[in-house]
Structures are given as structure tokens and as C-alpha cells.
């Protein structure tokens, strides 16, 4: 079983968080094993099994049970690191050297796509699809 945590925190402006990965549907379509999506009420459902608003203890339990997890730069990657469970983090404008954990597979397309100021509110950054790696890059790591 794979866990996906597809979304970073909603922005106060209502705009798409620039850290949200752009190609989830294509990625999910190429995965041939059960997927559980975790997140909160209001987020788009990407797979049949979407578990919303789970307490941290429940998320930790799921992490123990999963083969691997895939997420973005959100609290979930920190929770999984805290739990000692390796996963794949899909990076866009934020810097994995600052906000990531080397224990994970941190997939960043190129450092030139990082925003200059890593410490401003993300509301100031536009979402861009071209910042992210394509699904075929991720699938290579999923097979390992």
C-alpha cells in the first residue's frame, strides 16, 4: 500500500499553493497497487480511499503499514521523517536542503526553479506546472 499526501496547506488567498504537485492523476494512473490518500476536508479526492482529517496517531499508524509514501513539501513529510518512514517528496519552489530530510527521496527538477526567498509567505509565489518532475521520473523510484 502506498500513501499519498498530495496537498500543501491551503493559502489564505484561495490560490493554488505553489508547492502542490501538478501531475497527480497521471502518476496515480501508472501505479498498480492500493493507494490511500490522506488530507483534509475540502481537498480534491484523487483515489477512492481518501481519509480526511485523521489524527496524528492514525497517520502514524498508516505510515507504519504502508510500503512507501509520496507527498509534497507539507507537514506530512516531517511526520513521516519523525516516524522514521522513508518516502518520496515532490519539490517545486521550496528548497529540500532547507525544508527536506536527506533520509527521503527528494525529487527536485532543478534548483533554478526554487524561489529566491525561501522564507516569505507562499501566497507571494505563483503556482507553475513546469517546476515539477514528470511522473515517469517518480515511477523509477517507486519500483525500487
Amino acid at each position: 500500500m502506498i500513501i499519498i499526501a498530495p496537498y500543501a496547506q491551503k493559502l489564505r488567498t484561495g490560490k493554488l499553493n505553489p508547492k502542490n504537485y501538478s501531475y497527480w492523476e497521471e502518476l496515480i494512473g501508472n501505479i498498480n497497487e492500493p493507494i490511500i490518500q490522506v488530507g483534509i476536508e475540502g481537498e480534491e479526492q484523487l483515489v477512492p480511499d481518501f481519509r480526511k482529517n485523521l489524527p496524528i496517531a492514525e497517520l502514524r499508524k498508516l505510515l507504519k503499514e504502508c510500503r512507501i509514501w509520496i507527498g509534497v513539501d507539507s507537514f506530512f513529510q516531517h511526520l513521516a521523517w519523525d516516524e522514521g518512514k522513508k518516502g518520496i517528496v515532490l519539490w517545486g519552489p521550496s528548497d529540500p536542503l532547507i525544508f527536506g530530510h536527506p533520509e527521503n527521496i527528494n525529487l527536485l527538477k532543478d534548483r533554478s526553479y526554487l524561489v529566491d526567498n525561501q522564507f516569505i509567505w507562499w501566497e507571494a509565489t505563483e503556482h507553475r506546472n513546469d517546476r515539477f518532475v514528470k511522473p515517469k521520473e517518480i515511477l523509477k523510484y517507486l519500483k525500487e
Binding site: S74, H78, L79
Partner: protein
């Protein structure tokens, strides 16, 4: 230098004294906090000052401040990018050797250096004064008297030279900014820097009942600031931790917490990092920005991990 209401009284004396220091300043910045600021380039005496600065090759800037109090002004100076800041008052006139003398005591372990700040005719004998924060209610300020030998203290008053960008001014204080320099210099002491008072560096404090950056009379403002100061003292043996940030940040910080001695934690997610509420931290300390790890990382031009940033902030 912060100024308010003293364009034509003591401010010109202070400017003249700064211009004529034996160790010239690298840059003079005047933060004008007047309710009705003027363009002083139209005033003859100021025209001469600006010309003297230019002839001496001293960079200068006249900035209009936000009218929030001198602690906001000093915080701007603190973060303007210089390694050392000499904070001057607009009614405290330094003798020509003051900056040179203060700077001569600087080394890698020093956080701030102050000299005598004499207010005629009051010059108490402060030779036995300790300058320790525990004695602040029981002794005069050591800088009020003639300092005869170098002494390590825990807090300073009025005007002094300090290492910039290490700690922040408390911006939670009211406009009167009561105790602001005591809190600031004590924070440098808490960061294990030496705070010194030194001889042969005399500033004459020509206390002027008119104007002044603290020309507010509301007693409740002083009481508000005094309460913050007392709370800071009450918690001085603790390492204050304020986590006004996201859940992920709390999870990362939880790996740092065991290394922090005697931590008193204020938290948004007590289920992850137990502690008191953020509202209580604001109530106690007025300003929680000094614990904002994101602002710190921005200021430090941080390239290392978030966990390392927490370690730098708290250890």
C-alpha cells in the same frame, strides 16, 4: 540616532559631537521620529553639519521613522547590515573620544560597551555598583557615575556600542519603550556576550524636559512595559521557546527540544510539543518575533536545514 522634538535644542550638539569623534563613524543615520518632521536641509546649521559630514567623507542618511517608539528605530539600526551600532540619544552629548574608547574594548567575546552617562549635577558614586540584573532595583545604574575601571555588567543604559543583529529589540513594548535598552543589552548578556562599562568614555546627558523620544506621559504605558520587563526577569533562568508556526515545524523542532536546557515552551500544537499557549507568550513578553525562526532564517540568509536553524536559535 533617534530624535524627536529636539531639532533646535540638544540635537545639533549631539550631531556636532558625532561628527567630531576621533574615531569617525562609518555612517551616521538619523531616525527622525518627530510628529511633524521637517526637511533640515533648509536650516543653516544643519546645512553646515551635512557639509562637514561630506567633507570628512562620512556617509549619512536622514530617515523618517514610523512614530512607534525608539525601540522600532533601534531595531531598524540593529538590522541595517552593520556589524556594530553606536546608539546615541538626541540629548546625550558624547565627548570626542567616546566611540574610539568604546571600540577599543571590542573583541570577539564582547556584545556591548558603554561609558559614563553623566547628568549634571547628579553624579552618584557608582564604584560599588555591580550592574547585575538581580540588583537593578537596589542600586543606581553604573553608567550614571564616573566609571574608573573596566567592569563586566549584565545590562546597559541610554547610549552604548553594541554588536548588531545578534538579538532583537523587544517590539512588544509601548511607544515609551520603557526599559528597552535594559532588555536589549541583557539579551546580549544572555547570549553569552560580555557587556562592559569602561572608563574615559563620558557622555553628557542634558536631560531636556521638552521633546524626547519618550515624551509620553501615560502611566499605563510605563506599567505595561515594566510588566514585560518583570516577566523577562522571572523567566531568565529558562530557555524560552516560542513555536508560532506550522505543525511540520513543530515536528522538526521536537528533535531539537531534548538538547535545550531548561526549556519553557509556548506552542501551537501541544499534542506534538507540549507547552503553554502562544497567547500567553504574547501576554508575558509582548513581542514573540525574536523567536520567529523564519524571520531569523531570512536575516541569516539561511542555506542549511530547518532543524539546524532551530539549533542556532535556541542552543
Amino acid at each position: 540616532m533617534a530624535t524627536r522634538g529636539r531639532y533646535f535644542t540638544t540635537l545639533p550638539l549631539v550631531l556636532n559631537a558625532i561628527i567630531n569623534q576621533t574615531r569617525p563613524v562609518d555612517k551616521l543615520v538619523i531616525f527622525d521620529d518627530n510628529d511633524e518632521p521637517q526637511d533640515m536641509r533648509s536650516q543653516m546649521i544643519y546645512q553646515y553639519f551635512f557639509q562637514m559630514l561630506d567633507i570628512k567623507g562620512i556617509a549619512w542618511e536622514w530617515l523618517y521613522a514610523d512614530k512607534k517608539g525608539q525601540h522600532h528605530i533601534h531595531q531598524r539600526a540593529n538590522t541595517i547590515g552593520y556589524e556594530w551600532v553606536w546608539r546615541c540619544d538626541d540629548d546625550a552629548i558624547p565627548e570626542p573620544n567616546v566611540l574610539e574608547e568604546l571600540y577599543s574594548h571590542v573583541d570577539e567575546f564582547v556584545g556591548a560597551v558603554g561609558g559614563s552617562v553623566l547628568t549634571p549635577p547628579y553624579t552618584p558614586d557608582t564604584s560599588a555598583v555591580t550592574g547585575l540584573i538581580d540588583n537593578i532595583d537596589n542600586e543606581p545604574n553604573i553608567q550614571w557615575g564616573v566609571i574608573k575601571e573596566e567592569k563586566q555588567v549584565e545590562h546597559l543604559h541610554c547610549t552604548f556600542l553594541y554588536r548588531a543583529g545578534v538579538v532583537d529589540y523587544n517590539l512588544g513594548l509601548s511607544r515609551v519603550a520603557h526599559r528597552e535598552e535594559t532588555i536589549f543589552s541583557y539579551r546580549l548578556h544572555q547570549k553569552d556576550y560580555k557587556i562592559l562599562v569602561v572608563p574615559n568614555a563620558v557622555t553628557w546627558h542634558m536631560k531636556n524636559p521638552e521633546g524626547g523620544i519618550r515624551s509620553e506621559t501615560k502611566q499605563e504605558l510605563y506599567e505595561h512595559d515594566e510588566q514585560i520587563f518583570r516577566n523577562i526577569l522571572r523567566y531568565r533562568d529558562k530557555t524560552i521557546v516560542v513555536l508560532n508556526c506550522g505543525l511540520g515545524d513543530h515536528l522538526v523542532f521536537s528533535h531539537v527540544l531534548p538538547s535545550i536546557p531548561n526549556a519553557e515552551v509556548f506552542t501551537c500544537y501541544p499534542e506534538v510539543v507540549p507547552g503553554k499557549s502562544i497567547a500567553e507568550a504574547i501576554h508575558l513578553f509582548g513581542d514573540i518575533d525574536p523567536w520567529n525562526v523564519y524571520k531569523k532564517m531570512d536575516r541569516w540568509k539561511w542555506k542549511d536545514s530547518l532543524e539546524s536553524a532551530y539549533r542556532k536559535l535556541y542552543l
